[in-house]
């Protein structure tokens, strides 16, 4: 019987397999950042262990780093200590690091693909749940905890139980104004935040194949929001074209290409579960609640919890509306926004900035809100500046910042104030995620830009 793509990659990486034990899986690339690594390096030091493969490891500073005045020392002493600790650890253990101010610094999941380190058929891990982003290249990529970070540093392997497989078939064509962010938000609303638990998701179908590489990364990025550690897409010509010429693209290109060409789900393979989404019917999608599964089409209303049959979901919806200060039945388009955040590993790449700038060009954002534009990496920032996008954002009244995770998780000074409401292109709308007491609506870059102009949740069609 045939194999799914995930099963093929898994099998290629089994170092050791024994009855009744997890498989020992080899890791091709380990990405590191300052928040989830200090205790792992400490563990190595205590045990007197080296990093087994520093040449398969790379680090960057992203979660804590400020997006303003980056030429000055980090003001928050605790953040500074964490960043300094990463620098010290990388120097001691021989790990390549891209520090704040370096041209290759940025969000770890933007940096990997841009360097060409993310390639089809690889296993990629990072102490960050959005590692699933790299699945867009047909890699098996997933987030790990700090104990696992230490395990990979020490052995370049992980003991893992083989996940089940789920196909998500997205057929049809997206309407104008609908993007890959809307696809993934609609998928999460359909299967729920726990729907993907224990599975690797494979996104398939004509609507997925039609997406650019960067749009595919947006889809795979939020697999974890459906509970799946990993989500992937079979590589194709677009994938190969994207990698070609990048700093770490294979020098023996033909050999690599021959292997990459084998990376697809066989026709006679079966998935444990299959679900379908009709791309023709998708609309711009936004969240109204406090988990990414609580979303609805922008043209609809805040849902009425009393109409939800499942008591658990009803209770969660009631709590969410209280936290979000929303009334059932309110048109989503009437919700006034205080802050628009364009950025993150979900939507902080150059294409995201381009589509948003296209909406904003020659216009002014609403006086009732502020807009932060935070490129995903220093190189994305430079590329945007070379295209004049920075000027478009600044002329529209937005703030043009330095690269990092920024307001996606509010570890640096970029945070929402208590009660403040955001339209955010990031990935999580959890209570307080973007700052204590802040309220988050997840949106696409197109919706973020249109919302910035109108002051309430909007799509470009409303302009």
């Amino acid at each position: 019987m045939g194999k799914t793509l995930a099963e093929k990659i898994w099998q290629e990486h089994v170092v050791r397999s024994a009855q009744g034990e997890p498989d020992l899986i080899y890791i091709d690339l380990h990405l590191i950042h300052e928040v989830t690594s200090p205790q792992a390096f400490d563990g190595l030091r205590l045990a007197g262990r080296p990093v087994h493969r520093p040449d398969l490891t790379i680090a960057t500073e992203d979660h804590n780093t400020p997006t303003q005045n980056i030429d000055q020392p980090i003001a928050d002493p605790v953040s500074k200590l964490q960043v300094d600790t990463l620098r010290k650890n990388c120097a001691e253990f021989g790990v390549r690091l891209h520090s704040l101010g370096d041209i290759d610094q940025g969000i770890v999941h933007v940096v990997g693909p841009q360097l060409g380190l993310t390639q089809p058929g690889m296993t990629i891990v990072c102490g960050d749940s959005h590692t699933s982003t790299h699945g867009a290249f047909g890699a098996l990529a997933f987030g790990i905890g700090t104990s696992e970070v230490e395990h990979v540093l020490a052995t370049q392997t992980l003991p893992l139980v083989r996940p089940k497989t789920m196909a998500i078939n997205v057929e049809g064509a997206l309407k104008s104004g609908v993007s890959s962010k809307d696809i993934i938000l609609a998928i999460i609303a359909k299967i729920g935040t726990g729907g993907g638990q224990g599975y690797v998701l494979e996104y398939r179908g004509s609507a997925i194949r039609a997406l650019s590489m960067e749009s595919r990364m947006t889809v795979c990025n939020m697999s974890i929001e459906a509970g799946a550690r990993a989500g992937l897409i079979a590589p194709d010509e677009k994938t190969f074209e994207y990698i070609k010429g990048k700093p770490h693209a294979p020098s023996n290109w033909d050999e690599a290409l021959a292997y990459w060409g084998t990376l697809f789900t066989d026709k006679d393979a079966t998935f444990d579960v299959e679900i379908s989404i009709n791309a023709d019917e998708l609309e711009p999608f936004v969240t109204w609640g406090t988990n990414p599964g609580q979303g609805a089409p922008l043209n609809s209303n805040v849902p009425d919890p009393s109409a939800i049959a499942d008591p658990e979901a009803r209770g969660a919806a009631e709590r969410a509306l209280v936290y979000m200060d929303l009334k059932a039945g309110t048109p989503l388009k009437n919700i006034a926004i205080d802050t628009v955040f364009l950025g993150s590993c979900t939507n902080g790449r150059i294409e995201d900035l381009r589509v948003a700038a296209d909406v904003l060009k020659g216009k002014k954002i609403s006086k009732s809100l502020r807009m932060l534009v935070v490129p995903g990496s220093a190189r994305v920032r430079l590329q945007a500046e070379s295209e004049g996008l920075d000027k478009v954002f600044i002329d529209a009244g937005a703030e043009w910042r330095q690269a990092g995770c920024s307001m996606c998780l509010g570890m640096n000074p970029d945070q929402l104030a208590v009660g403040e409401r955001s339209a955010s292109t990031s990935n999580r709308n959890f209570e307080g995620r973007q700052g204590k007491g802040g309220r988050t609506h997840l949106v696409s870059p197109l919706v973020a830009a249109a919302t910035a102009l109108r002051g309430t949740l909007s799509s470009p069609a409303d302009l």
Binding site: L56, S129, G143, L409, E431
Partner: protein
């Protein structure tokens, strides 16, 4: 890692579903570079409310957390596990856990137990009626018991053995170094290396 065979303690009923890791420990508390001291961040936002269950005297000594479905969703931060352990929890019971959280718990010796939602609800009722109710978690026998109730739970043999022996995963894997060496010799040469620029 401490061995885990049985544990007897009182429990805290957390009647909430989808308790994500940003609630267990908000990002601003993740800046420490040690594995200890995270207890202050545990449920930090919710603890501001004096009515929050963690603030009630009768549950102050609880070592078993009984939570709603989808506990630990969201980020991969192992700090969520450390915060629970630093605070004093040894066991978390729910009807479903997020994968990464569950994996992290097993690495650090925090036992996560999955039981059907109806059993979670029965436990909530029993604990609320009697917060001093002793609850016994028996990993060897794979069950949780209180009063005259016994609920069986599933856990894979390997994780159970590791927890009961208190074994460190890295030490176990390093016994397979020969396999790792052999695997590395057969890896494709076109795979990227972070120290070598090709273009």
């Amino acid at each position: 890692m401490e061995k885990f065979v049985t544990h007897v303690g009182t429990a805290l009923p957390l009647r909430r579903s989808n308790v994500d890791t940003d609630q267990i420990i908000p990002a601003v508390y993740l800046k420490r570079v040690t594995r200890s001291g995270f207890e202050d961040g545990l449920f930090a936002a919710w603890r501001k409310d004096p009515e929050f269950v963690l603030n009630k005297d009768e549950f102050k000594k609880a070592t078993i957390l009984v939570a709603g479905v989808d506990f630990g969703t969201g980020s991969s931060r192992e700090h969520a596990v450390w915060a629970l352990q630093n605070y004093g929890f040894k066991v978390v019971i729910s009807s479903r856990f997020a994968d990464i959280f569950r994996g992290n718990s097993a690495k650090g010796g925090l036992l996560t137990i999955i039981v059907p939602q109806k059993d979670v609800e029965a436990m909530w009722d029993a604990i609320e009626q009697n917060p001093a109710l002793p609850i016994t978690v028996n990993l060897d026998a794979r069950n949780v018991s209180y009063g005259d109730v016994t609920v069986a739970f599933d856990i894979d043999d390997y994780t159970r053995w590791r927890l009961m022996e208190g074994l460190d995963d890295i030490g176990l894997t390093l016994k397979s170094l020969d396999f790792i060496d052999k695997f590395e010799k057969s890896r494709a040469s076109f795979k990227p290396n972070t120290k070598t620029l090709n273009h």
